[in-house]
């Protein structure tokens, strides 16, 4: 499909139509006359899987992705359907929270459902899904030219036991947000090391608390959620450590591992630059502190940018910038943990070759640009990130994110990643709630995952 054609299609769809389409996806699609009538998403007949679908056969694919409000995903699917009459795709709107998405998706995958054919997966799921044989290896499809066009980590992050199971669709990552006005006021530089961060936060907090008792130097997420483990990984990686030992087993109880947790604990209880409520702080809580002008630094995901820069809800619009997280010494770049969503193909899909074409389309330059513009998320292609349209976008996100994306790292792909992470979270959370000392927290977390890894 050429550019003009795409524009024409997108132009025809008014905002209202898109909304309607999005809302009634599944039931009302025939109204757009794009898709032949078909039954419920899970009722398509399960004919035997073929590697090659005859070119003239019309197939109906289901693509599961989180609901989103910009309508971009709907637009992308509509555009695809208009130019691919033989491969019609239906967008199944999934919950936005990873946990509910997972529950819904796993229910259908365990039942050997052939749909969704293509699904978004959270970056931590490919290991689990691949081990369960729910998603198929993509190595046979991936071309070198596709590989070259994507960021390296978009591919490596989806590998499990030497095979590729999922490709990043868009990135999220952890980074440091900071108040430009306060850094200037207190004459401190953007921190490059963890020590810098502590001293800068202390200095600013000391000054600001005189007039604002709710002010904190550094806010981050210490609740019993996935992020608490991700942040620990970031500090660990920033000190040159790693979480997998030589045998590919998860090893927390290392010198750097203890130091990383100690650092997190210290921000709340020794240095006191982070508020006591950090133990229940989720990304949204840290953001509202930042929005209220009650924090100097914040560790958060990329999505926080738009909220902090939204004049309808933020008091600090234009006063916040972002940088890579600090590391232990100024020589080493800090590392952000990646998040976001990847694309994978259902191993029971009845038309995997067509499904792959759709995946390719979603990773293509045009779709990625439309996605990045519409949803304000980081694309997985350098050429898209460099696009002048994005670079000059109003709130400056894409200008700054390039530096962050240079040093990001994915969480390990493990068969039982969630189980391991779920076992770690309460232990780390106990430390941040001051119910355990960091060294004890690491020890009991290690014991918990050792019993999982040996089972």
């Amino acid at each position: 499909m050429d550019d003009q054609e795409m524009r024409a299609i997108l132009g025809r769809l008014s905002r209202r139509e898109l909304l309607k389409w999005g809302l009634y996806a599944g039931a009302g699609m025939s109204a757009l006359d794009l898709i032949e009538a078909c039954g419920g998403s899970n009722t398509s007949s399960s004919t035997s899987s073929q590697a090659q679908t005859p070119a003239d056969k019309t197939v109906q694919l289901v693509y599961a992705a989180p609901q989103e409000d910009s309508g971009t995903t709907v637009k992308l699917v509509v555009a695809w359907n208009a130019s691919n009459p033989k491969t019609q795709v239906k967008y199944q709107q999934m919950p936005r929270t990873s946990a509910d998405f997972h529950t819904q998706l796993v229910s259908s995958l365990t039942a050997n459902s052939p749909t969704p054919d293509v699904t978004d997966v959270d970056v931590i799921w490919p290991g689990e899904f691949a081990a369960a044989k729910w998603i198929m290896p993509l190595d046979q499809y991936v071309t070198d030219s596709l590989k070259k066009s994507l960021f390296g980590s978009a591919i490596t992050a989806g590998q499990y036991k030497g095979k590729l199971y999922a490709i990043q669709r868009w990135y999220d990552s952890g980074q440091l947000y900071y108040r430009t006005d306060l850094l200037q006021k207190y004459a401190v530089a953007v921190p490059k090391t963890m020590d810098d961060l502590v001293s800068a936060a202390k200095k600013i907090q000391g000054g600001e608390q005189a007039s604002n008792s709710n002010f904190s130097g550094f806010v981050w997420e210490g609740a019993k959620i996935e992020a608490v483990f991700d942040e620990w990984l970031e500090w660990l990686w920033g000190m040159g450590g790693d979480v997998l030992d030589k045998n590919g087993k998860v090893k927390l109880d290392t010198t750097q591992g203890r130091k990383a947790l100690q650092f997190m604990y210290d921000t709340v209880y020794s240095e006191k630059i982070s508020p006591p409520g950090t133990s229940t702080s989720a990304p949204a809580d840290a953001i509202s502190r930042m929005q209220n002008g009650n924090a100097a630094f914040m560790r958060n995901w990329q999505f926080a940018w738009n909220l902090v820069q939204d004049p309808r809800q933020s008091k600090v619009v234009g006063k916040v910038s972002m940088a890579p997280l600090p590391s232990d010494s100024s020589g080493r770049p800090g590392v952000g943990c990646t998040g976001g969503w990847m694309l994978a193909i259902n191993a029971k899909s009845t038309a995997p070759d067509r499904a792959w074409k759709f995946v390719e389309y979603m990773l293509g330059q045009k779709a990625q640009l439309a996605m990045a513009t519409g949803q304000s998320v980081s694309p997985v292609r350098q050429d898209v990130l460099n696009d002048p349209q994005l670079q000059s976008a109003a709130n400056g996100f894409f200008k700054l994110i390039g530096a962050v994306l240079k040093n990001v790292k994915g969480r390990p792909q493990l068969r039982n990643y969630t189980e391991i992470s779920t076992a770690i979270q309460p232990e780390f959370n106990s430390v941040i709630a001051n119910q355990k000392k960091p060294a004890d927290g690491i020890k009991s977390a290690q014991a918990a995952i050792d019993s999982i890894q040996s089972a």
Binding site: A131, A132, T418, P426, A433
Partner: protein
């Protein structure tokens, strides 16, 4: 069990006819419940004795009591079991007492009774998933939360970390929510029971000079014996299975202080561990515990002769 009833009933006269009728009246409900639950229940029982991890599809085999042995060796299981029992005892007691007093209040005639009745229903009708998150928002340790925010407005210390400091505080916070949310159930059921007590019983007692307190203990409570049993049994069964409310409010935290067995089952099963063997075994343990509770309650409170 219904079959046993039928066999016994066939031999004798009018009583046998009643037993037969009872059999046919109970049958449709039982058939429906069996149809819906039989397969899931049998599946759960089968999985409990298998090595069955979805992420290890090549290795599915019968492994006897191994899953139960693994449970016995997991400190989180024991913590979950302990908290399940603690939560059930405390929340059922709280819901029952508060609900009962609520019902007695709403039962009386007074101006504004409509408001009290509406108040009784509101918490109950809110979707649990949403309720728990709304309360988490109110417990927010930053003064964006209603509680700490109000403390700040009043000039009081306002840095209480309700859900993420001591385990005791988090448990209390959870119990307040549990009582708030579900006392309506107890109140509704008890209120309906109160309404079916004949008024002349109280009149007779008043004539005899019995005070309000004596009337309560000698009339109200005995009359509501069955209702009370029903409330306690149903609340206990549900509290032992409490899930939404805990996931939404604390997710088992701080640490594992509010982790209960259903949450443990979820973590070991569907949420990512995909160890259906282990989570099914836990479900069986939970089943046994609930059964024991139900039998004890009915033994103590159930009187067959009162309506035979």
């Amino acid at each position: 069990m219904a079959i046993a009833v039928k066999r016994r009933g066939k031999s004798r006269g009018p009583e046998a006819a009643e037993a037969r009728l009872a059999f046919w009246l109970i049958l449709p409900a039982v058939i429906g419940m069996v149809a819906v639950s039989l397969y899931p229940v049998l599946q759960t029982i089968a999985w409990a004795f298998q090595h069955y991890q979805l992420t290890d599809p090549e290795n599915v085999y019968f492994n006897g009591f191994h899953n139960f042995q693994r449970l016995a060796g997991d400190p989180n299981f024991w913590a979950g079991l302990r908290f399940s029992l603690l939560y059930t005892v405390l929340s059922v007691a709280g819901q029952f007492v508060v609900g009962f007093v609520f019902a007695l209040t709403a039962h009386r005639e007074f101006r504004g009774r409509g408001i009290v009745r509406a108040a009784m229903l509101f918490p109950w009708t809110m979707p649990t998933v949403i309720t728990a998150v709304v309360w988490r928002f109110m417990y927010n340790p930053d003064s964006t939360g209603l509680f700490n925010g109000t403390l700040e407005h009043l000039g009081l210390p306002h840095n209480i970390v309700w859900l993420g400091s001591s385990a005791t505080l988090a448990v209390i916070a959870l119990l307040i929510l549990a009582v708030w949310k579900v006392n309506s159930f107890c109140a509704l059921v008890v209120l309906a029971g109160l309404q079916s007590i004949p008024g002349d019983v109280y009149e007779a007692a008043s004539v005899d000079g019995a005070g309000a307190l004596r009337q309560f203990f000698s009339i109200t409570l005995p009359y509501l014996r069955q209702t009370i049993m029903v409330v306690l049994v149903l609340r206990t069964v549900e509290s032992l299975q409490a899930f939404d409310i805990i996931v939404g409010l604390t997710n088992g935290g701080p640490g594992n202080a509010t982790l209960n067995l259903p949450l443990y089952i979820f973590q070991k099963g569907l949420s990512g561990a995909q160890d259906f063997g282990l989570s099914s075994a836990t479900a069986l343990v939970l089943f046994a515990i609930i059964l024991v509770f139900a039998i004890v309650y009915t033994r103590v409170l159930y009187r067959e002769e009162t309506f035979a």
